[in-house]
């Protein structure tokens, strides 16, 4: 079987599992969870084969592409052709491996998590639906990864949006979950609009959605055309980046991701850590040449930097274990966007992969904790779980060290590169000093709040004796995924070295494979800038590394002093911060307030209620009541001057009945009877005929 068929099989396996589960899922033994898990495991095997092929070739330009014609109208003399294609290169092969691995483990984890402690499915027939949604979601994500063009990528992108809606709102009896799913769907939709504009512009200028054609179009200058007073490449790049902002929850569309934690924890791990939000990053990595060529990168960098910094600040104050992880996801995604913005395609992808692995593990560990604590999510009620949940604790500690950037773990390698590139960039462009501040501050903050999570959950004495006594280690199908992913959180797997920059090589040719194999696609006129960037990053490497280790170390130490050994009182620290800052952070910088109270209620709703208010104020109050008031005044005036001359009936007639008659005759036009409305329309048509002189 050739690799293209294997790639298609990867998508088809979970998709068919989705259909089968929907049709006969309830009748299968164990309600079909093994089918879904087995299908994705089959995909994983295929992905391993593809990856092995890619890896044995070990060529940065490895590429297998195949296109099929979907719609071709040239046979009827219309030059309109739409292709579907599969593109397998180093990027998609690596991504496939990561997605299938995470998805398989998360499926396995779900078979435990979605059942109660007696092993019964949690929610009756909905158990099957859960796995069918997971399957559909995974197949869409995999389809997105193997897409050779933006069109099929966009289709999968939308299916993923739908699935996230279904899965976030899975606990549909909870109104908060229903609202969160709606919020996620609507917010990402705003971003999709931008992506859609980008796609339309690409179709207009390139005439094809295939990545190969788009890269070619950049090199031959097609995208230099002027559009909206700027270059087409800028419009396209910005549009696609807005799509990413929605999907990957960057500022200012970040509001949906924390709410999305209302979904079951495996969903949070799958969608909001390992895959879906990565899809946005994957997209901008794919179209990186457009962003670079269209000079969108500065915007990208600032959006990413700002997101990473302010999400880290919010994470410090969260008490819900999943919310902390949600904001740390936001922050790490911001890192990826930031480093793409300063121009390092490879590093962004590197961090995407390492982050997906350790964040999936962190989410599932938190899921295990929540499960063991009988769905208690508040960290203030936890504590001391180190002894009760040894495996979960070990896995979570390893991945926390990875995300905090402790040397030797995967997060250190990728984060170190990020910091080095940002440092190098700022060194050359001092006016962008703020980016370096964002990046380094986030590094310290991340270490602090992640260890705060560890200390609050696992250290010290339990806060809630009842829950603590009932807690016990989870079953094998829940801890096995944690162990596997924790094992993959070590640096050597990705770089063959400890630092990510290539001293202390261990594996010979396979050194730094993720970096060697994923160079950015070439674009005319940017080689010099790229070389300068690499050079700067190389020089910045050691200072950045030392600084990042110092920051991470001090973050961990401080966290230990406050939450581990409690040498420093947390209250005292927070008392030093002015109140308005607390309020600001507690209200998530008032973004929800802004969107709901200002944008929706003050701008959108008035449009729809304008007609109603016209009826209420102008017609009812203005005409009817107004006339009545005037009539009353005149009544009193007349009454005062001469009660006898003017007849009361006359006053009543003009003052009371006439206005009412006028008001109600106007009102009669809107009597809610559909035929009356139609008649008005037809009479208007008739009048139109008469006045236009047709008769």
């Amino acid at each position: 079987m050739d690799l293209i068929s294997l790639a298609l099989l990867i998508v088809i396996l979970p998709l068919s599992s989705y259909f089968i589960l929907n049709i006969v899922g309830n009748k299968l033994p164990r309600q079909g969870d093994w089918l879904s898990t087995g299908a994705i495991f089959g995909s994983f095997i295929c992905a391993v084969i593809i990856f092995a092929n890619m890896f044995s070739a070990y060529d940065p330009n490895w590429l297998i592409e195949k296109t099929w014609t979907w719609i071709d109208l040239s046979s009827v003399n219309i030059p309109w052709k739409l292709d579907l294609g599969v593109r397998l290169d180093n990027l998609s092969a690596t991504m496939l491996l990561m997605v299938t691995l995470c998805a398989t483990l998360i499926h396995l984890f779900s078979t435990g998590y979605m059942r109660d402690h007696d092993g019964k499915p949690e929610d009756g027939y909905r158990y099957t639906s859960f796995f069918s949604y997971l399957s559909l979601f995974t197949s869409a994500m995999l389809g997105l990864v193997i897409s050779g063009n933006l069109f099929s990528l966009f289709m999968c992108w939308e299916v993923m949006g739908l699935c996230s809606y279904l899965l976030i709102g899975f606990y549909r009896h909870k109104p908060s979950a229903a609202n969160a799913s709606l919020k996620a769907f609507m917010t990402t939709r705003v971003g999709d609009l931008g992506l859609f504009v980008g796609l339309l512009a690409i179709w207009n200028y390139v005439g094809s959605f295939a990545f190969t054609d788009i890269y070619a179009a950049i090199n031959n200058g097609t995208l230099d055309a002027s559009l909206f007073g700027t270059s087409a490449a800028f419009v396209i790049g910005l549009g696609i980046f807005i799509g990413t902002v929605g999907k990957s929850a960057q500022f200012p569309l970040q509001i949906w991701l924390p709410d999305a934690m209302e979904g079951p924890t495996p969903v949070s791990a799958l969608i909001h850590a390992a895959t879906m939000v990565s899809a946005g990053i994957y997209l901008i990595i794919r179209v990186f040449p457009i962003l670079e060529y269209g000079h969108v990168l500065t915007i990208v960098a600032y959006v990413g930097g700002f997101t990473s910094f302010f999400a880290a600040i919010i994470a410090i104050k969260q008490n819900d274990i999943k919310k902390v992880l949600a904001y740390s996801t936001l922050s790490q995604l911001g890192y990826m966007v930031l480093v793409l913005g300063v121009g390092s395609y490879t590093t962004s992808f590197f961090h995407l992969i390492t982050h997906a692995v350790f964040k999936a593990c962190l989410f599932m560990s938190s899921g295990a904790v929540i499960y063991a604590m009988h769905h208690e999510q508040d960290m203030r009620h936890m504590g001391g779980l180190k002894k009760k949940l040894p495996i979960t604790f070990a896995a979570m500690l390893i991945t926390t060290m990875a995300i905090s950037g402790v040397p030797g773990f995967s997060g250190f390698a990728s984060k170190d590169r990020i910091l080095a590139y940002v440092y190098g960039f700022v060194h050359h462009h001092p006016q962008h000093m703020l980016l370096a501040f964002f990046a380094f501050a986030t590094a310290g903050l991340t270490a602090f709040y992640m260890f705060r999570l560890i200390f609050m959950t696992f250290w010290n004495e339990p806060h809630d004796k009842h829950h603590y006594d009932h807690a016990h280690e989870v079953s094998w199908n829940m801890w096995l995924p944690l162990v596997v992913l924790a094992g993959l959180s070590f640096c050597v797997i990705y770089t063959g070295s400890i630092t990510g920059f290539g001293f202390d090589k261990i594996f010979g040719a396979a050194n730094e494979w993720i970096i060697t194999l994923n160079p950015a696609p070439l674009v005319n006129g940017t080689e010099a800038a790229r070389e300068a960037m690499e050079e700067a990053a190389h020089h910045a490497h050691y200072p950045a590394m030392i600084l990042s280790i110092l920051l991470a170390g001090s973050g961990i130490l401080f966290s230990y002093l406050v939450y581990g050994s409690r040498k420093i009182s947390a209250e005292k620290i927070s008392g030093m911060v002015p109140n308005f800052v607390h309020r600001w952070i507690d209200n998530l910088y008032y973004f929800d307030f802004f969107y709901i109270k200002i944008v929706i209620q003050k701008i959108f709703l008035p449009f729809s209620s304008k007609n109603a208010s016209f009826d209420n104020t102008v017609i009812d109050r203005g005409l009817v009541d107004g006339w009545k008031d005037i009539a009353k005044v005149s009544y009193f005036a007349v009454d005062l001057v001469d009660n006898e001359v003017v007849d009361k009936g006359m006053v009543d007639g003009f003052g009371g009945k006439l206005p009412y008659a006028l008001g109600s005759s106007l009102r009669a036009l809107q009597n809610g009877k559909i035929q009356r409305y139609l008649t008005v329309a037809v009479v208007a048509l008739m009048l139109l005929f008469i006045f236009r002189g047709v008769l």
Binding site: D615, Q670, N671, G672, I674, Q675, L678, V682
Partner: protein, 117 residues
């Protein structure tokens, strides 16, 4: 076309078709506006849609040489679309009728006045 008579050439006379569809349209308007029954209104709408569809085909077939030397059957296609949309309309309208009937035991449109201003 031997024999004359008032019917001679009727089949190829666009005016005859247009006047016919115009009559159908007028009856459709009357039925839509005056029926006291949702199904009656629905039938009026069907009449109007059919009148329009017939016009499309008439212009396509009988005015082809005048309007443009077209090879595509634009009029036919639009009539087909009209038929399809009428099928959708039938489905939705009947669903609404059923629903209305279920909730108020009547399909008199004059009784459904929740949208009164």
């Amino acid at each position: 076309m031997e024999g004359g008579g008032i019917l001679a050439g009727l089949a190829t006379n666009p005016e005859a078709y247009l006047l016919f569809s115009l009559l159908l349209f007028s009856f459709g308007i009357i039925a839509t506006l005056a029926r006291k029954n949702a199904i009656g209104i629905f039938m009026g709408v069907e009449l109007m849609l059919n009148a329009a569809a017939l016009n499309f085909v008439t212009f396509q077939v009988l005015r082809r040489g005048v309007v443009a030397n077209e090879t595509w059957l634009h009029g036919h296609i639009f009539s087909l679309f009209v038929i399809i949309l009428a099928a959708i309309e039938a489905a939705v309208a009947l669903a609404i009728v059923l629903r209305t009937f279920g909730s108020r035991q009547s399909i008199d449109p004059d009784r459904a006045t929740e949208l009164r201003g």
